[in-house]
């Protein structure tokens, strides 16, 4: 055990975590250059495209250190976005140490802080590393001071590296070997192993990534998951190097995988504890939480007839994503579809994009909603995440909305615009601290429903990309929430309904009417677009009827050109949904979700 080092790499987005992971794999000879795709660990296309790690990967590496000993390094990758805090915390719980990558040109960011706090909570040895040292704008001395000041982590001897250029990789490995403590634990005790990730494989069922703390698990053991209470037979155990290599056992201190014919990842929830059914541990490992979606939206097949296709795809995705919830739902406007729950907006975008990309489906998503706590006049409580399910307002005593604590880190010159943004989003400033002379950390309380639309995008654009954000749910708070309905040709389209704060209803209503006016093509008759709260119309626009739609001249027998024009027109028609007599293009559903402050 003394030659094992279990560690994660933590960083703010874009600070170079995945690139460093790739270089470590390369350096330890685990991946040949030829196999090396850029950022090997991020193996989903989507992740590679966005440069963020969503699904965890892990690797078992051997490294011959300068002290002459051979070490086993278990690199446990972590996802890098606010939506996945819990998953990050469980990955960290599987480690003894964390390599903290800080961009030497940027310094400490909001997620650096958030991740360091998570690592501190797990009592990890945190080893700072300064990346992008080869860039002209790198200022390692200043960043070292910042790390010491802000995080209280001594960084004088931190390796100076460039993951991209392959500089200093060995220093990082030596630093890990020297400073990250070896795992402790009782190899003869009762089995306690932490699930820190799992994914579904078509042939083997769920593959559990696990860290064994006490005891050992062998091929053929009957394992029990202590929180779910379910038992399975271990059909395969092994390590990822980084491809799967079967072993006969995993024991205390080790990191590896277990297959046990488990049908969906929700049954092997991250954070759950594996023990042996015959001789179970008395207590599970601490820190387990049920997956709790924070954001909901409706997902509907763009073509109503593709319901089965969407259902299949959603089921397949859920098998691999314990945090993704869904249930069937019907909309009068959109037909049969699903109400889906996500950890956050990014999680939602990822699922929608995967549906479209991996399954070739075209889907319509409805306005995302948080979960409101609706207290009825009779004292009962309903949790509502679908505007359509809001009870009759006369029966409601009050509505509560979720509030998050948001940490926003920005260069000081943006304090004004960001405060304005937060103000506009109904934020309450708790306090403001100067991290350094030029960097400010704003602590805000914000209603989650103000964060889920485009807060992050707005923050990025107002701070020229320098602002960073981390948030967590803290409580429910009474709020004046109203249901905003949209009527096309005097008929309510339920898919456009949304729950908004009273103070925002007018602007939101205006925005939706304006947007729809631009996007709904003119038709044979005039189409009024109205936004209303209850019976009261608060905004109105009209799509005028078309009077003329002709190709007047047919030139020189060029039929193909005319045909192309008509085909283009027809293509546009195909992407329309019919509501009563009104045709609405699919883009309308996404367009009304984008809320441009500058409009």
């Amino acid at each position: 055990m003394k030659n094992i080092r279990n560690f994660s790499i933590i960083a703010h987005i874009d600070h170079g975590k995945s690139t460093l992971a790739d270089r470590i794999l390369e350096f330890t000879g685990m991946v040949s250059d030829r196999d090396m795709k850029e950022q090997f660990l991020d193996n989903m296309d989507l992740e590679r495209e966005r440069g963020i790690t969503i699904k965890l990967q892990t690797s078992h590496l051997t490294y011959k250190a300068k002290d002459g000993n051979e070490y086993i390094l278990n690199l446990i990758d972590t996802p890098g976005h606010v939506d996945f805090t819990y998953e990050v915390s469980r990955s960290l719980a599987a480690c003894e140490g964390a390599v903290l990558v800080v961009d030497a040109t940027q310094g400490v960011e909001a997620q650096t802080l958030a991740n360091v706090y998570l690592a501190m909570n797990e009592n990890l040895e945190i080893r700072p590393v300064l990346n992008k040292i080869d860039l002209a704008s790198a200022d390692p001395d200043a960043v070292k001071v910042e790390i010491a000041d802000v995080l209280g982590i001594e960084a004088d001897s931190a390796p100076l590296i460039s993951a991209k250029a392959g500089i200093g990789i060995e220093d990082v490995l030596e630093d890990i070997v020297a400073h990250v403590p070896p795992p402790s634990g009782d190899p003869t005790g009762r089995l306690k192993a932490l699930i820190f990730d799992s994914y579904y494989d078509n042939y083997k069922g769920v593959i559990i990534y696990t860290r064994v703390f006490d005891g050992a698990v062998r091929l053929g053991d009957t394992i029990r998951l202590m929180n779910s209470g379910k038992s399975y037979e271990a059909t395969e155990v092994g390590v990822y190097a980084p491809g799967p290599v079967q072993t006969d056992r995993l024991e205390a201190g080790e990191v590896g995988y277990i297959c046990a014919a488990i049908k969906q990842v929700a049954d092997a929830r991250v954070g759950d504890t594996i023990t042996l059914a015959e001789d179970p541990a008395t207590e599970p490992l601490p820190g387990y939480k049920r997956a709790q979606p924070m954001v909901y939206c409706g997902i509907y097949p763009a073509d109503g007839e593709k319901y089965e296709g969407v259902k299949d795809a959603i089921e397949k995705l859920q098998v691999n994503d314990a945090a993704f919830h869904f249930e069937p739902e019907t909309s009068t406007a959109l037909g049969f579809g699903f109400r889906c729950g996500f950890l956050g907006l990014l999680h939602m975008e990822i699922i929608v994009e995967r549906l479209e990309r991996e399954f070739g489906l075209s889907v319509i998503t409805t306005s995302p909603s948080v979960i409101y706590r609706v207290v009825m006049a009779d004292g009962t409580v309903e949790m509502i995440q679908n505007p359509g399910n809001l009870p009759n307002p006369l029966l409601i005593a009050h509505i509560e909305e979720p509030i998050v604590k948001a940490d926003i880190m920005i260069p000081k010159e943006y304090v004004g615009v960001v405060m304005e943004l937060c103000q506009d989003r109904r934020g309450k400033l708790l306090h403001m601290e100067y991290i350094t002379e030029i960097r400010v950390l704003l602590h805000y309380e914000l209603p989650l429903n103000e964060v889920i639309y485009d807060f992050f995008d707005a923050l990025k654009s107002k701070t020229r990309g320098y602002g960073s954000l981390d948030y967590e749910f803290i409580r429910y708070e009474t709020s004046k929430i109203v249901k905003l309905d949209i009527l096309l040709n005097r008929e309510q389209v339920d898919a456009f309904s949304m729950l908004v704060h009273e103070s925002k209803a007018y602007y939101r209503g205006r925005f939706v009417c304006d947007t729809l006016k631009e996007i709904i093509p003119r038709q044979q008759f005039e189409i009024p677009i109205q936004a209303s709260i209850g019976q009261k119309v608060i905004a109105r626009e009209t799509v005028r009827a078309y009077r003329k739609d002709v190709i007047a001249k047919c030139y020189g027998g060029d039929i193909s050109r005319k045909r192309k024009l008509l085909e283009k027109q027809k293509e546009g028609k195909k992407r329309m949904r019919r509501f009563g007599s009104v045709e609405v293009p699919q883009e309308a559903f996404t367009a009304v979700l984008k809320y441009d402050d500058n409009k």
Binding site: D549, V550, G556, Q569
Partner: protein, 388 residues
């Protein structure tokens, strides 16, 4: 008697000859043409046309008899009548041309100086003129970027009559920005008073990649409101019918018996061969287009690869085109003829779409004839998209 037999077997063919030269490009025009007045260029192009015609005639010459020829552009009247004569000579020499063939040529009123010009064209074999009048309003002609003035139209028309042309079309345009209904009415009245056999009346279309499109985008002009455009269109139909013209296609009206036989081929899925730069053909179930690259066209010999693209129409393609082109004709399409032509029942293919369009008031069906309603004429694209 074998001769008669073989004659009965030959199908009729229209030939379109494209002349891609203009004095200058009009603001609204996105057709294939160049501002070029160099006679040597004209001559070499005419030679190349002959080369192409010879090549094409080897394939089609024996199988078809030509009953319409249409020389369009561009501005064909920019070419010396000698060259027109040479081109027509090639056609007469290489194809079987019927005695009463309709031979149309487009004329720009600003390019003809005397009666001799027309006389020579008549002698060359041209039987029908299509005069690009467009408007009788100086402001509109300027807006359109035309090279002629209003007076040129009447002068040109009179010269054509003097030379003996008995089948003349006037092209008119309406729906220009700032155009008023009363001036359009006056234009129509002027045209009707001239008493041509045929009048085309096109609603101005703003095509991308034209100077006009740019001027609209940058706000120099505001398009005429659709409702005004339609008032002009409806007025034109009424005024022309009142004057004894038959409205026979969306944008065309003619004295009885003077509908453009060549253009009717386009709308009836009949065969036509297009020669010249970028010209389009539909022959024997295949659509194809010549290269639109000058150098390539000029470099081809009679066996040369002129074709830019080619598409073998499926029956489904033919059906769609038959319907959406046929419905451009005011008389509509005859569904029993449809069955004879395709061996399939129209309603089996298009029941749902057609009923929907009838409900929307865009189509009417009577006695086995399907046609656009008055509203359908204004919104014809809405009808056509349902059939492709």
């Amino acid at each position: 008697m074998t001769i008669t037999n073989s004659a009965a077997k030959t199908k009729s063919l229209g030939i379109y000859v494209h002349i891609p030269f203009c004095v200058r490009k009009c603001a609204y025009c996105d057709f294939l043409s160049f501002a070029n007045r160099d006679e040597t260029v004209h001559r070499s192009y005419a030679c190349q046309l002959s080369t192409e015609l010879i090549g094409r005639s080897a394939v089609y010459g024996n199988k078809y008899s030509v009953d319409t020829i249409f020389i369009g552009g561009g501005t064909p009247s920019l070419l010396s009548p000698i060259l027109i004569d040479a081109i027509l000579d090639t056609i007469y020499a290489r194809f079987r041309v019927e005695g009463d063939a309709e031979v149309t040529m487009e004329v720009n009123p600003g390019t003809v100086d005397g009666v001799e010009h027309f006389t020579e064209l008549r002698n060359a074999g041209v039987t029908r003129l299509s005069i690009g009048a467009q408007s009788f309003q100086a402001s509109m002609l300027r807006f359109l970027g035309r090279v002629h003035e209003a007076a040129d139209v009447t002068r040109c028309y009179a010269l054509a009559r003097e030379a003996g042309f008995e089948n003349i079309n006037l092209d008119l345009m309406f729906g220009m920005p700032d155009e008023r209904l009363d001036t359009w009415k006056a234009d129509l009245q002027t045209a009707i008073t001239l008493n041509p056999e045929h009048i085309s009346f096109y609603s101005l279309q703003i095509e991308e990649e034209t100077p006009l499109f740019g001027e609209i985008m940058n706000g120099k002009y505001t398009p005429l409101p659709e409702i005004d455009d339609r008032l002009m269109y409806h007025h034109a139909i009424e005024a022309l019918c009142r004057a004894g013209y038959v409205h026979y296609e969306i944008s065309n009206a003619a004295r009885p018996g003077f509908a453009s036989r060549h253009n009717l081929k386009y709308w009836s899925l009949d065969d036509y061969l297009g020669v010249g730069l970028g010209a389009h053909s539909y022959i024997n179930g295949r659509r194809f287009a010549n290269t639109n690259i000058w150098k390539d066209y000029m470099g081809a010999d009679e066996h040369g690869a002129l074709t830019m693209w080619s598409h073998e129409n499926s029956q489904r393609d033919d059906i769609a085109e038959y319907v959406f082109l046929g419905l451009r004709k005011i008389e509509g399409i005859d569904l029993s003829r449809f069955r004879r032509q395709f061996g399939r029942d129209f309603w089996e293919i298009y029941r749902e779409e057609t009923h929907m369009l009838m409900e929307r008031g865009l189509l009417e069906h009577r006695d086995g004839i399907l046609r656009l309603t008055r509203l359908g004429l204004d919104l014809s694209n809405q009808v056509f998209v349902e059939y492709i």
